[in-house]
Protein backbone atom coordinates (compact mmCIF):
# COMPACT_ATOMS: atom_id res chain seq x y z
CA UNK A 1 0.00 0.00 0.00
CA UNK A 2 1.23 3.49 -0.81
CA UNK A 3 2.32 5.42 2.25
CA UNK A 4 2.73 8.66 0.32
CA UNK A 5 0.23 9.75 -2.27
CA UNK A 6 0.32 13.03 -4.17
CA UNK A 7 -2.41 13.91 -6.59
CA UNK A 8 -2.12 16.94 -8.87
CA UNK A 9 0.12 18.70 -6.35
CA UNK A 10 0.86 22.26 -7.49
CA UNK A 11 2.80 25.09 -5.88
CA UNK A 12 3.37 28.54 -7.30
CA UNK A 13 5.59 31.34 -6.09
CA UNK A 14 4.06 34.39 -7.77
CA UNK A 15 4.23 33.63 -11.47
CA UNK A 16 6.77 30.83 -10.99
CA UNK A 17 5.36 27.32 -10.97
CA UNK A 18 7.59 25.30 -8.61
CA UNK A 19 5.48 22.14 -8.70
CA UNK A 20 3.19 21.45 -11.61
CA UNK A 21 0.50 18.80 -11.19
CA UNK A 22 2.72 16.28 -9.44
CA UNK A 23 1.07 12.91 -8.94
CA UNK A 24 3.13 10.28 -7.18
CA UNK A 25 2.51 7.11 -5.28
CA UNK A 26 5.35 5.81 -3.10
CA UNK A 27 5.33 2.57 -1.14
CA UNK A 28 6.83 1.53 2.18
CA UNK A 29 10.05 -0.44 2.24
CA UNK A 30 11.63 1.53 -0.60
CA UNK A 31 14.45 4.00 -0.92
CA UNK A 32 13.37 6.56 -3.49
CA UNK A 33 15.57 9.19 -5.10
CA UNK A 34 13.96 12.55 -5.76
CA UNK A 35 16.27 13.73 -8.50
CA UNK A 36 16.54 16.82 -10.60
CA UNK A 37 18.65 19.89 -11.22
CA UNK A 38 18.57 22.91 -8.95
CA UNK A 39 15.18 24.58 -9.03
CA UNK A 40 13.30 21.52 -10.28
CA UNK A 41 11.00 21.40 -7.24
CA UNK A 42 12.65 18.79 -5.01
CA UNK A 43 12.80 20.86 -1.85
CA UNK A 44 9.36 22.38 -2.46
CA UNK A 45 7.89 18.87 -2.64
CA UNK A 46 9.61 17.77 0.57
CA UNK A 47 8.56 20.96 2.38
CA UNK A 48 4.92 20.35 1.43
CA UNK A 49 5.22 16.77 2.71
CA UNK A 50 6.39 18.15 6.04
CA UNK A 51 3.80 20.89 6.33
CA UNK A 52 6.24 23.78 5.86
CA UNK A 53 4.53 24.89 2.66
CA UNK A 54 0.91 24.71 1.63
CA UNK A 55 0.14 23.60 -1.94
CA UNK A 56 -1.80 25.91 -4.26
CA UNK A 57 -3.75 22.95 -5.58
CA UNK A 58 -3.85 19.20 -5.38
CA UNK A 59 -3.83 16.71 -2.57
CA UNK A 60 -1.22 14.95 -0.49
CA UNK A 61 -1.78 12.04 1.84
CA UNK A 62 0.73 10.40 4.14
CA UNK A 63 -0.34 7.07 5.60
CA UNK A 64 -3.85 7.95 4.48
CA UNK A 65 -4.05 11.34 6.23
CA UNK A 66 -3.56 14.91 5.03
CA UNK A 67 -0.37 16.54 6.33
CA UNK A 68 -0.76 17.56 9.96
CA UNK A 69 0.35 16.72 13.49
CA UNK A 70 -0.31 13.00 12.99
CA UNK A 71 1.74 12.72 9.79
CA UNK A 72 4.58 14.82 11.23
CA UNK A 73 4.89 12.28 14.05
CA UNK A 74 5.51 9.59 11.41
CA UNK A 75 7.99 11.61 9.36
CA UNK A 76 11.67 12.13 10.08
CA UNK A 77 12.82 15.17 8.14
CA UNK A 78 16.38 16.26 7.41
CA UNK A 79 16.16 19.77 5.89
CA UNK A 80 18.69 20.90 3.30
CA UNK A 81 19.93 23.64 5.61
CA UNK A 82 21.86 23.40 8.85
CA UNK A 83 19.36 24.51 11.49
CA UNK A 84 21.07 23.60 14.76
CA UNK A 85 22.76 26.46 16.64
CA UNK A 86 26.53 26.62 17.15
CA UNK A 87 26.34 26.73 20.94
CA UNK A 88 24.76 23.28 21.19
CA UNK A 89 26.87 20.31 22.21
CA UNK A 90 26.34 16.90 20.63
CA UNK A 91 24.62 15.80 23.85
CA UNK A 92 22.29 18.85 23.70
CA UNK A 93 21.17 17.80 20.23
CA UNK A 94 20.32 14.33 21.52
CA UNK A 95 18.33 15.80 24.44
CA UNK A 96 16.61 18.19 22.05
CA UNK A 97 15.50 15.39 19.75
CA UNK A 98 14.46 13.24 22.72
CA UNK A 99 12.17 16.08 23.88
CA UNK A 100 10.60 16.58 20.48
CA UNK A 101 10.16 13.06 19.14
CA UNK A 102 8.73 10.14 21.08
CA UNK A 103 10.13 7.71 18.50
CA UNK A 104 13.70 8.97 18.96
CA UNK A 105 16.19 6.31 20.09
CA UNK A 106 18.70 8.32 22.16
CA UNK A 107 20.78 5.25 22.95
CA UNK A 108 21.21 4.42 19.27
CA UNK A 109 22.08 8.02 18.38
CA UNK A 110 24.63 8.14 21.21
CA UNK A 111 26.24 4.88 20.06
CA UNK A 112 26.47 6.13 16.48
CA UNK A 113 28.13 9.37 17.59
CA UNK A 114 30.58 7.39 19.67
CA UNK A 115 31.43 5.17 16.69
CA UNK A 116 32.27 8.32 14.77
CA UNK A 117 34.44 9.65 17.56
CA UNK A 118 32.17 12.64 18.19
CA UNK A 119 32.38 13.51 21.88
CA UNK A 120 29.18 14.32 23.76
CA UNK A 121 30.54 17.66 25.01
CA UNK A 122 31.79 18.79 21.59
CA UNK A 123 30.13 22.01 20.44
CA UNK A 124 28.57 22.19 16.98
CA UNK A 125 30.39 25.46 16.31
CA UNK A 126 33.70 23.60 16.59
CA UNK A 127 32.72 20.80 14.20
CA UNK A 128 33.59 20.61 10.50
CA UNK A 129 30.81 20.87 7.97
CA UNK A 130 31.02 17.14 7.24
CA UNK A 131 30.80 16.23 10.92
CA UNK A 132 27.76 18.47 11.44
CA UNK A 133 26.09 16.88 8.43
CA UNK A 134 26.76 13.40 9.83
CA UNK A 135 25.41 14.45 13.23
CA UNK A 136 22.20 15.78 11.68
CA UNK A 137 21.79 12.59 9.69
CA UNK A 138 22.38 10.42 12.76
CA UNK A 139 19.69 12.14 14.83
CA UNK A 140 17.29 11.91 11.88
CA UNK A 141 17.92 8.21 11.27
CA UNK A 142 17.76 7.42 15.01
CA UNK A 143 14.01 8.05 14.89
CA UNK A 144 11.82 5.02 14.31
CA UNK A 145 9.82 6.77 11.64
CA UNK A 146 7.59 5.48 8.86
CA UNK A 147 8.96 7.98 6.34
CA UNK A 148 12.37 9.59 6.19
CA UNK A 149 12.70 12.74 4.09
CA UNK A 150 16.37 13.49 3.48
CA UNK A 151 16.85 16.73 1.58
CA UNK A 152 20.32 16.88 0.00
CA UNK A 153 21.99 14.74 2.69
CA UNK A 154 25.27 14.42 0.78
CA UNK A 155 25.68 17.89 -0.71
CA UNK A 156 28.87 19.70 0.16
CA UNK A 157 30.64 16.90 2.00
CA UNK A 158 33.74 14.96 0.94
CA UNK A 159 33.49 11.50 -0.69
CA UNK A 160 34.39 9.64 2.50
CA UNK A 161 31.64 11.46 4.39
CA UNK A 162 29.21 10.69 1.53
CA UNK A 163 30.08 7.05 1.86
CA UNK A 164 29.47 7.15 5.58
CA UNK A 165 26.15 8.92 5.14
CA UNK A 166 24.84 6.47 2.52
CA UNK A 167 25.93 3.48 4.58
CA UNK A 168 24.26 4.94 7.64
CA UNK A 169 21.03 5.28 5.70
CA UNK A 170 21.18 1.68 4.44
CA UNK A 171 22.12 0.28 7.83
CA UNK A 172 19.55 2.17 9.89
CA UNK A 173 16.26 2.69 8.11
CA UNK A 174 13.35 0.46 9.10
CA UNK A 175 12.87 -2.00 6.28
CA UNK A 176 9.16 -1.23 6.35
CA UNK A 177 9.72 2.52 6.10
CA UNK A 178 9.89 4.77 3.06
CA UNK A 179 13.07 6.78 2.53
CA UNK A 180 12.97 9.77 0.18
CA UNK A 181 16.39 11.18 -0.69
CA UNK A 182 16.58 14.35 -2.73
CA UNK A 183 19.83 15.10 -4.53
CA UNK A 184 21.39 16.16 -7.78
CA UNK A 185 24.44 13.94 -7.10
CA UNK A 186 22.95 10.96 -8.88
CA UNK A 187 26.09 8.92 -9.47
CA UNK A 188 26.67 8.78 -5.72
CA UNK A 189 23.21 7.59 -4.70
CA UNK A 190 22.33 5.45 -7.70
CA UNK A 191 23.23 2.07 -6.21
CA UNK A 192 21.36 2.85 -2.99
CA UNK A 193 18.00 3.57 -4.63
CA UNK A 194 15.08 1.30 -5.47
CA UNK A 195 13.29 3.90 -7.51
CA UNK A 196 14.07 7.19 -9.14
CA UNK A 197 11.70 10.13 -9.53
CA UNK A 198 13.06 12.66 -12.00
CA UNK A 199 11.74 16.19 -11.71
CA UNK A 200 12.11 18.91 -14.31
CA UNK A 201 10.58 22.36 -13.95
CA UNK A 202 8.22 21.03 -11.30
CA UNK A 203 6.99 18.10 -13.39
CA UNK A 204 7.64 14.39 -12.92
CA UNK A 205 9.37 13.24 -16.11
CA UNK A 206 10.23 9.72 -14.94
CA UNK A 207 9.29 7.41 -12.09
CA UNK A 208 10.87 3.98 -12.44
CA UNK A 209 12.99 1.36 -10.66
CA UNK A 210 16.69 2.20 -11.12
CA UNK A 211 17.64 -1.25 -12.40
CA UNK A 212 14.84 -1.05 -14.95
CA UNK A 213 16.26 2.23 -16.29
CA UNK A 214 19.74 0.68 -16.51
CA UNK A 215 18.38 -2.39 -18.26
CA UNK A 216 16.17 -0.50 -20.71
CA UNK A 217 18.63 2.27 -21.65
CA UNK A 218 21.95 0.43 -21.24
CA UNK A 219 23.09 3.49 -19.33
CA UNK A 220 23.57 4.36 -15.71
CA UNK A 221 20.88 6.55 -14.22
CA UNK A 222 23.48 9.32 -14.02
CA UNK A 223 24.22 9.11 -17.75
CA UNK A 224 20.53 8.95 -18.56
CA UNK A 225 19.89 11.99 -16.38
CA UNK A 226 22.63 13.99 -18.15
CA UNK A 227 21.02 13.11 -21.47
CA UNK A 228 17.51 14.13 -20.40
CA UNK A 229 18.75 17.40 -18.93
CA UNK A 230 21.36 18.24 -21.56
CA UNK A 231 21.31 21.94 -22.35
Amino acid sequence: MAILEADGLTKTYGSLCALDQVSLSLESGRIVGLLGPNGSGKTTFIKICNGLLVPAAGELRIDGSPVGTATKALSAYLPDRDFLPDWMKASDVIDYYSDFFSDFDAQKAGDMLEDLGIKADQKLGKMSKGTREKLRLIVTMARRAKIYFLDEPIAGVDPAARDYILRTIIANYNTDALVVISTHLIADVESVLDEAVLLRNGKVVLHAPVDEVRERTGKSLDEYFREVFAC
Binding site: D163, I170, S191, V192, K219
Partner: protein, 124 residues
Protein backbone atom coordinates in the same frame (compact mmCIF):
# COMPACT_ATOMS: atom_id res chain seq x y z
CA UNK B 1 31.49 2.43 -2.20
CA UNK B 2 33.13 -0.91 -1.65
CA UNK B 3 31.83 -2.87 -4.66
CA UNK B 4 32.35 -1.50 -8.13
CA UNK B 5 29.52 -1.63 -10.61
CA UNK B 6 29.58 -1.17 -14.35
CA UNK B 7 27.49 1.69 -15.61
CA UNK B 8 25.04 0.30 -18.13
CA UNK B 9 23.98 -2.96 -16.45
CA UNK B 10 21.41 -3.58 -13.74
CA UNK B 11 23.06 -3.63 -10.33
CA UNK B 12 21.29 -6.78 -9.17
CA UNK B 13 22.64 -8.83 -12.10
CA UNK B 14 26.15 -7.60 -11.35
CA UNK B 15 25.76 -8.75 -7.75
CA UNK B 16 24.58 -12.17 -9.00
CA UNK B 17 27.67 -12.38 -11.27
CA UNK B 18 29.97 -11.45 -8.43
CA UNK B 19 28.56 -14.21 -6.20
CA UNK B 20 28.72 -16.77 -9.02
CA UNK B 21 32.37 -15.91 -9.55
CA UNK B 22 33.23 -16.02 -5.86
CA UNK B 23 31.45 -19.36 -5.40
CA UNK B 24 33.12 -20.85 -8.49
CA UNK B 25 36.59 -19.71 -7.44
CA UNK B 26 36.20 -20.79 -3.82
CA UNK B 27 36.25 -17.32 -2.22
CA UNK B 28 32.95 -18.52 -0.76
CA UNK B 29 33.49 -22.12 0.35
CA UNK B 30 30.85 -24.85 -0.08
CA UNK B 31 28.61 -24.88 2.99
CA UNK B 32 29.77 -21.45 4.12
CA UNK B 33 27.20 -19.17 5.70
CA UNK B 34 26.96 -15.75 4.11
CA UNK B 35 26.17 -12.47 5.86
CA UNK B 36 22.66 -11.10 6.27
CA UNK B 37 21.03 -9.10 3.49
CA UNK B 38 21.41 -5.86 5.43
CA UNK B 39 25.10 -6.44 6.23
CA UNK B 40 25.86 -7.37 2.63
CA UNK B 41 23.95 -4.31 1.39
CA UNK B 42 25.96 -2.03 3.67
CA UNK B 43 29.22 -3.69 2.58
CA UNK B 44 28.36 -3.37 -1.10
CA UNK B 45 26.81 0.07 -0.77
CA UNK B 46 23.59 -1.04 -2.41
CA UNK B 47 19.91 -1.00 -1.64
CA UNK B 48 18.88 -3.94 0.58
CA UNK B 49 16.01 -4.82 -1.78
CA UNK B 50 18.50 -5.06 -4.66
CA UNK B 51 20.70 -7.38 -2.58
CA UNK B 52 17.64 -9.45 -1.63
CA UNK B 53 16.67 -9.78 -5.28
CA UNK B 54 20.18 -10.96 -6.22
CA UNK B 55 20.28 -13.52 -3.41
CA UNK B 56 16.84 -14.86 -4.38
CA UNK B 57 18.10 -15.30 -7.93
CA UNK B 58 21.11 -17.25 -6.63
CA UNK B 59 18.76 -19.41 -4.58
CA UNK B 60 16.70 -20.13 -7.67
CA UNK B 61 19.88 -21.20 -9.44
CA UNK B 62 20.66 -23.48 -6.52
CA UNK B 63 23.95 -21.80 -5.62
CA UNK B 64 22.62 -20.63 -2.26
CA UNK B 65 20.00 -22.10 -0.02
CA UNK B 66 18.18 -20.82 3.04
CA UNK B 67 18.13 -22.43 6.41
CA UNK B 68 15.51 -21.16 8.75
CA UNK B 69 17.82 -20.32 11.62
CA UNK B 70 21.23 -20.10 9.98
CA UNK B 71 20.50 -17.67 7.16
CA UNK B 72 21.82 -18.31 3.66
CA UNK B 73 24.40 -20.96 2.91
CA UNK B 74 26.56 -21.68 -0.13
CA UNK B 75 25.68 -24.96 -1.84
CA UNK B 76 27.82 -28.02 -1.11
CA UNK B 77 26.94 -29.52 -4.48
CA UNK B 78 30.42 -29.95 -6.04
CA UNK B 79 29.02 -30.75 -9.50
CA UNK B 80 26.99 -27.56 -9.47
CA UNK B 81 30.04 -25.49 -8.48
CA UNK B 82 32.34 -27.06 -11.06
CA UNK B 83 29.52 -26.61 -13.57
CA UNK B 84 29.45 -22.83 -13.15
CA UNK B 85 33.25 -22.69 -13.05
CA UNK B 86 33.31 -24.51 -16.38
CA UNK B 87 30.69 -22.15 -17.78
CA UNK B 88 32.66 -19.13 -16.61
CA UNK B 89 36.04 -20.17 -18.01
CA UNK B 90 34.40 -21.20 -21.27
CA UNK B 91 33.06 -17.66 -21.60
CA UNK B 92 36.50 -16.21 -20.94
CA UNK B 93 38.14 -18.56 -23.47
CA UNK B 94 35.55 -17.79 -26.14
CA UNK B 95 36.03 -14.09 -25.68
CA UNK B 96 39.81 -14.53 -25.89
CA UNK B 97 39.54 -16.53 -29.10
CA UNK B 98 37.22 -13.94 -30.64
CA UNK B 99 39.68 -11.18 -29.81
CA UNK B 100 42.61 -13.18 -31.22
CA UNK B 101 40.77 -14.00 -34.44
CA UNK B 102 39.81 -10.33 -34.78
CA UNK B 103 43.53 -9.52 -34.82
CA UNK B 104 43.75 -11.63 -37.96
CA UNK B 105 45.78 -14.64 -36.89
CA UNK B 106 45.11 -18.32 -37.49
CA UNK B 107 43.96 -20.84 -34.88
CA UNK B 108 47.35 -22.61 -35.12
CA UNK B 109 49.10 -19.37 -34.29
CA UNK B 110 46.74 -18.77 -31.35
CA UNK B 111 47.61 -22.21 -29.98
CA UNK B 112 51.32 -21.73 -30.44
CA UNK B 113 51.24 -18.32 -28.71
CA UNK B 114 49.27 -19.77 -25.80
CA UNK B 115 51.70 -22.71 -25.51
CA UNK B 116 54.69 -20.40 -25.62
CA UNK B 117 53.31 -18.12 -22.88
CA UNK B 118 52.38 -21.10 -20.70
CA UNK B 119 55.90 -22.55 -21.09
CA UNK B 120 57.52 -19.23 -20.24
CA UNK B 121 55.26 -18.99 -17.20
CA UNK B 122 56.39 -22.45 -16.06
CA UNK B 123 60.07 -21.49 -16.17
CA UNK B 124 59.75 -18.35 -14.10
Amino acid sequence: MAWNFEKGKPIYSQIVERFRKNIASGVYQPGQRIKSVRDLAVEAGVNPNTMQRALSELEREGLLYSERTAGRIVTSDKDKISGIRREMVTDIAEQFIRNMRDSGISDEEILSIVRQILQEGQKS
